[in-house]
Symmetry: C2
Subunit: 201 residues, 2 copies
């Protein structure tokens, strides 16, 4: 837990709330990635994010409760607390899945279900002659240009979760992404250097 003692929590209710929603969604993507590739390191990250989310949730609740000045406001603020609880439920579901990955208790069916969903998870390796090499995630805008949401990147032995927009891709990087099979295949062709341009590149 100590590592979160110094953690910076956004200052206002809205920013905490946005951070909670983004974090829970990242946790779900990472949990599915961990399950699909049996990657315990990714599963561990999900559990760390769960602790971070608990801190955000606590801070949100304190601020939200303080803000109510009359019955009508209190009712509406209840909707904030309820949605925060829903986000927390979603993050707990992700953490449960991550724990099953760590304990090696996953039925192979779970992997198949993740692979056959409308939106799935894929792993894409960046080849030296790909258009992606040397460009930042901001320049590339992979979500708009390929339909793939970048969940994490593996560089050598290191995982980069929820990478910053100024991160530049390098040959050998492994992108974990979420999208349809077609979108993931399309990104693969760009990453392999088979497709030489990006739509808006």
């Amino acid at each position: 837990m100590e590592e979160w003692d110094e953690v910076e929590v956004p200052n206002n209710v809205k920013d905490i709330f946005v951070e909670m929603k983004n974090t829970a969604e990242l946790m779900v993507d990472l949990a599915y990635s961990a399950a699909l590739f049996r990657e315990k390191e990714i599963a561990e990250e999900v559990l760390e994010l769960e602790e971070y989310l608990d801190i955000l949730n606590y801070n949100l609740m304190v601020r939200a409760v303080l803000a109510a000045r009359n019955i009508r406001e209190a009712e509406q603020i209840t909707s904030i607390l309820q949605m925060a609880r829903s986000i927390d439920d979603i993050s707990n579901a992700a953490a449960d899945l991550a724990k099953m990955v760590i304990e090696e208790k996953l039925h192979r069916l779970i992997t198949e279900v993740i692979m056959e969903s409308e939106e799935t998870i894929g792993r894409v390796m960046v080849s030296p002659d790909s258009y992606l090499v040397g460009k930042s995630l901001e320049e590339l805008d992979i979500p708009t240009n390929t339909g793939v949401w970048v969940v994490a990147i593996r560089r050598g032995k290191r995982w980069i979760f929820d990478p910053d927009e100024d991160m530049k891709l390098m040959p050998g990087d492994i992108i974990i992404g979420r999208g349809t099979r077609t979108a993931l295949d399309y990104l693969k062709e760009i990453a392999r250097g088979i497709i030489k341009v990006m739509p808006n590149g």
Copy 2:
């Protein structure tokens, strides 16, 4: 409930499970859409999907429990039941949000949070001179080509939720989509006829 009496449930555990995951994810997208646009019809659809998901969940549990023949199998099948419960939790969270939309108990902050998340929801109107007109969702492959996941389409007074791939877009159609702000803006330019081609069109 009657309308689900005749509902077809897929025949094997995997297909039921995939259908559950897809349905829960659709419910979340629809719940956020309902909250953002204060659309009670969309919220009602979320509640109907929740009933459908309960039926799927029951069928999955019966089949999964039947499949266990020894302790090791029973342990692994427990992971299926646990993930099914997680999916059910996520669908309940979506239903809670939908209920708040119907009861008009949403704090405006919830709308702001949905709008400012990394992935958000947008509404895009198809203009008569857009490239999209007359083409099927399959041909267009909007997710790969623009990064926008199509959640629902409004045609006249009718909502089409989770539209089929062979559906052709018409002028005046309103697409509800999920994606980054950049991706949604890009689709808007195509829908308005400002951008005349699709990347892979």
